[in-house]
Symmetry: C2
Subunit: 149 residues, 2 copies
């Protein structure tokens, strides 16, 4: 696959919403949102971004590729940690600015060592500036052992 | 609740990731990503954005509020359609720039009439500029009847 990837430009709303062509609506930074859920139980694992190249590679290979905004680099999920994501199913949303992948996650998705990045609950009914969180998930791996200090 | 809402500023990575205070990391537009899944079966319903006010209202009331980037307005989900979302559980991710809500969705989440905005599959293994989609979900309501023409 070429290192460059491109898709047809998005059309009008009806084409975006009811069409049979993938015409991603990339934001000003050239990205779409990607939501990864656990194919085993439906839990949300992580939210990240894909540029055209990451999206094309994910579709072509069935392995999850992302674009890291902080590192400004294409990123194969698990390339450092080994905690890869095999894509079981991919979907695109109505206006084609977000994709959903159901994945088989090795070990954990989160760099902090948890299975999911969403390991803290926000109890409802709280008001005001100070909102307390509750931990709801334990680590499944030791991040220092995987990523180093 | 005041029409203004604010949260403490995000701290260093360790506070963001391991702390017990909600300190959302809003983007340059003052928004965090919100992922809504179906509390009944784990399906992804929609991806949208919340500003500080939408986030505060959602936490306080247990009903989903969003911020519409296109309309530049706070938006209570279902205020036009009646297709509200009662929040069963809320979580925040490691770097606090995304929240996950599990919701009880009335009728459908998508303005096109589907239960989920992710009603088209992207079959894997495709390469090149032209990627074909497949419809994977039928309408659960008639958008013209709900929203008008």
């Amino acid at each position: 696959m070429s290192e460059q990837a491109s898709f047809p430009a998005p059309g009008a709303a009806n084409d975006l919403e009811e069409g049979l062509a993938l015409t991603p609506k990339f934001d000003d930074g050239g990205l779409v949102i990607c939501v990864a859920t656990d194919a085993a139980n439906g839990d949300l694992l992580m939210v990240a971004h894909m540029n055209a190249q990451a999206l094309a590679k994910t579709i072509a290979t069935g392995e999850a590729w992302y674009y890291s905004r902080s590192r400004r680099a294409l990123w194969r999920k698990g390339e450092t940690s080994g905690h890869t994501q095999r894509v079981v199913e991919m979907r695109v949303d109505c206006d084609q600015d977000a994709v959903w992948i159901k994945v088989e996650q090795v070990a954990g998705a989160c760099h902090t060592g948890r299975r999911s990045c969403f390991y803290r609950a926000v109890p409802l009914g709280q008001q005001g500036r100070t909102i307390k969180l509750e931990f709801s998930e334990d680590r499944v791996f030791d991040p220092k052992a995987v990523y180093g200090k």
